[in-house]
């Protein structure tokens, strides 16, 4: 008559255990799902019915009620299909209660009774990993990311029922255990010339400073950005697994070999706000911001992104997490990524030196699309020019990523030891302690403030970048003028100035 079966549903990037209650009782024949199911969940009814019939079971012609118990939150996804089917079989007395109680069931049912993977297998399995977790055989590799102690991959409902009823051994499916592999990342050695951009990239990686590159097409903005993950330290095993879990939650294919390279996400500029920060109607999914967590989020042609999408990045970038709030629920997802953006300086995209003839008003309109507060988030703002042929063909190859990454790791270590966070995250009130300025440097910055070339917020940001530069060069605790000047030079104003006479 009644059964309670364990399953899980996805909230953002995390799985939550839920109990699927099934009740088969007197009344007009009917099938209702209650407990705040979303549209996909409600479709379960038809899939479960077809799967049971295909597998040769009788469909009870009585009143069936399914309750998705656990919290007042909306539940989504097709991962509860199997739990509903097993619940009905237990309620009908076909499957013994104690056999079903040891397990949690996460799989979508096919109409023929086969088991299928659903989006977010890894976090779902993670939520119930203390039980025997029954999943589709095809989802086994992804499920192993959660490192469950007892994973039971099964191919069909019938096979599962045989195990539960007859006590036959679980089918033997070879499941590779998840492991981190060192994958290849594009190497900085491929970049010829561009020494100032290389430096900026290293500073960005060393201090985790957000970076904006302005330059004409062909200046190598995308090429450089793609190589930034290679400068960051490889992910630790925990970080790599967390990243893979987020990818799984976003419904992406995840294999058991997890890349140790920091993620690199480069969304196209037609992206919606929900796809960027996460959310979506009904079921909340992680966005690009969470997918890029621990890695690099690259916005190519930043000017083409809708301003609302860009501005929605501001707060998550500051806090390292993104909060999606709904009337019924609130979900927190990771958003600790290094933002790298690239934009043309003007619409014409002229590459020859000083060849641009765009009117000042047009140039201003072009960059006015970026809100001031967003631009302020970029500690590093550099202008790139197309390298000369001599630079591209001559000279020696640049340093390789491995060499730079070693230096970056050293700065990371140093800053964590000193202040417990990377340099871009130094709180303003701690700056005087961990990045004190020499007297010259202080007066130099004060002059820039007086000239109006530096804002109050910019003042702190320049000091953080100067700290990183000093760390990179093994300077002692006091930050002297050289680093402050260099940091200031890496913060070019992006709005063209009108020359008034």
């Amino acid at each position: 008559m009644y059964a309670a079966i364990r399953s899980a549903t996805l909230f953002g990037t995390r799985g939550t255990p839920i109990t699927v209650e099934a009740h088969v009782g007197k009344g007009l024949p009917g099938f209702t799902v209650v407990g705040l199911p979303d549209e996909g969940c409600r479709e379960s009814r038809d899939r479960v019915r077809a799967a049971l019939l295909s597998s040769g079971f009788e469909w009870p012609l009585r009143r069936i009620t399914i309750n998705l118990a656990g919290g007042g939150e909306r539940k989504g996804g097709a991962g509860m299909d199997l739990a509903i089917a097993v619940g009905l079989l237990v309620a009908e007395g076909i499957v013994p209660v104690d056999a079903a109680e040891r397990c949690a069931f996460i799989a979508e049912l096919g109409l023929d009774g086969s088991l299928r993977p659903t989006a977010g297998m890894a976090p779902l399995v993670d939520a119930v990993s203390q039980f025997e977790v029954v999943v589709a055989a095809s989802a086994a590799a992804e499920s192993m990311l959660a490192r469950p102690s007892r994973l039971r991959p099964v191919t069909s409902l019938l096979e599962l029922v045989e195990v539960l009823v007859d006590g036959t051994p679980w089918p033997n499916v070879a499941v590779p255990s998840a492991h981190v592999v060192v994958d290849a990342i594009a190497d900085m050695a491929d970049v010829r010339g561009q020494s100032s951009a290389r430096l900026a990239l290293e500073v960005a990686a060393s201090g985790f400073h957000h970076m904006l590159m302005m330059g004409p097409p062909g200046a190598g903005k995308s090429m450089l950005a793609r190589r930034l993950p290679g400068l960051l330290p490889r992910l630790t095993e925990d970080e790599a697994f967390t990243c893979a879990m987020v990818r799984s939650a976003a419904g992406m294919q995840v294999s058991s070999a997890i890349a140790s390279s920091p993620p690199f996400r480069s969304p196209h500029h037609n992206i919606s706000m929900a796809a960027m920060v996460g959310g979506g109607s009904g079921h909340i999914r992680p966005g690009e911001l969470s997918l890029a967590s621990n890695g690099v989020l690259f916005l190519d042609e930043m000017g083409e992104f809708p301003p609302t999408v860009l501005d929605s990045l501001r707060q998550p970038l500051e806090e390292g997490v993104v909060n999606i709030s709904r009337a019924h629920s609130s979900v927190t997802m990771p958003a600790r990524c290094l933002l790298v953006a690239a934009t043309n300086p003007c619409p014409c995209g002229e590459t020859s030196p000083l060849g641009c003839m765009c009117a000042i008003a047009i140039r201003q309109r072009y960059v006015r699309r970026f809100s001031g507060p967003l631009i302020d988030r970029f500690d590093i703002r550099i202008k790139l020019v197309k390298p000369s042929t001599a630079e591209l063909t001559g000279g020696t190859a640049g340093e390789s990523s491995v060499v730079i990454a070693e230096r970056v790791a050293r700065v990371h270590q140093l800053s964590i030891q000193r202040q417990g966070c990377l340099n871009s995250a130094i709180p303003a009130d701690l700056l005087d302690e961990v990045a004190p300025l020499s007297r010259d440097a202080m007066s130099w910055l004060r002059d820039r403030l007086d000239e109006g070339r530096l804002s109050g917020r910019g003042y702190h940001r320049v000091r953080r970048v100067a700290r990183t530069l000093a760390d990179m060069n093994g300077a002692e605790i006091v930050v002297n003028t050289e680093w402050v000047e260099a940091a200031f030079g890496m913060r070019v104003p992006i709005t063209p100035t009108i020359e008034r006479h």
Partner: protein, 367 residues
Amino acid sequence: MANRYPEWTYSAALAALPLQTPLRLRRLITLDTPSHVWDMLQAGERPLVGINDAVWRAWHGVDASLLVSTAEACIDSSMTVVSMRDAPYPPSLLGDPSAPGVLFMIGDAGAFSNRRVGIIGTRHATQRGKYFAQLLGKQLSAVGVSVVSGLARGIDVESHVGALSLSSEEGSPPIAIVASGLDMVYPPEHERIWGEMGRRGLLISESPPGTAPEPHRFPMRNRILAALSEVLVVVESRATGGSMITVREAMKRDITVLAVPGAPGIAPCEGTNNLLRDGCGPVTDVTDVLVALGLDHRHMTDWCEGRPALQDDERQVMTALGRVPRSMDEISLDASLSVVNVAVILGRLEAKGWVANTHGWWEALVA
């Protein structure tokens, strides 16, 4: 009919007639005194041939209110109006086949009797070009030459900024020929120097007050600019553009055209380099201009560099930078300095006024 108004108001009103063109205006002005011409038009006469009916209808349709409003606008902006018949009209324009019939002026018409050098160039100039224009304007003004230019963005305004950087005692009054009415400041960011020009130099236009800066007026303005110059210096110009129109106008009038050599391959220098190839004299120094004017340059006081002196490492970067726009990477390669060092030194040089940066390209501000 009794003439209640001074003669200049009729000149102004004729210039302000609807469908007026420089040629029609010149024909009207040469016909008779402006007041007589005005009376003829008011009486419905057609004193000229070859002018179509629509124009006559428009001209006959105006009444005395045009006369009054134009005159009031002139008085409000303290403009003086001179026709070809008046004494202050610049003699160098008198013999010109396409001279403007009427000139609107603010400032001291005495500037016409100075030696005059036109300094022109592109609106999208290099920083070095702007620096050179400013320096040239200042040095010419210091030796008593009036700088003639168009007050447009870029080279034009810089030459006037240079000329006006000297006090009235030290420098001679510059002359600006603009395309719009003198009460219509264009481009708007030049409002300050526009006013300054009227107070300390001479601001002239053939357009009556209230005329908008319509695109076709700029090439027409260029012919006056050329005609008023004894020598025309093109500091920087693209292969085609407004400066080239002025150059053609100057050549038609047998006016010496000089060009400032620029780096090859840089768009704002293409036109000037073409001029040099075609046989124009080069200008690398104010002396070249003075020689072309036939002035004695030997007693010129040496130019005093006002910017803070260069340190050793700064000189090293300046040398690597050379005379063409370069990227920081190229400078760092040539100067054999680290990028951080170059960035810091360039920052200092920029603060001292020795270099400037446009869209990531660095330029040395040296003549």
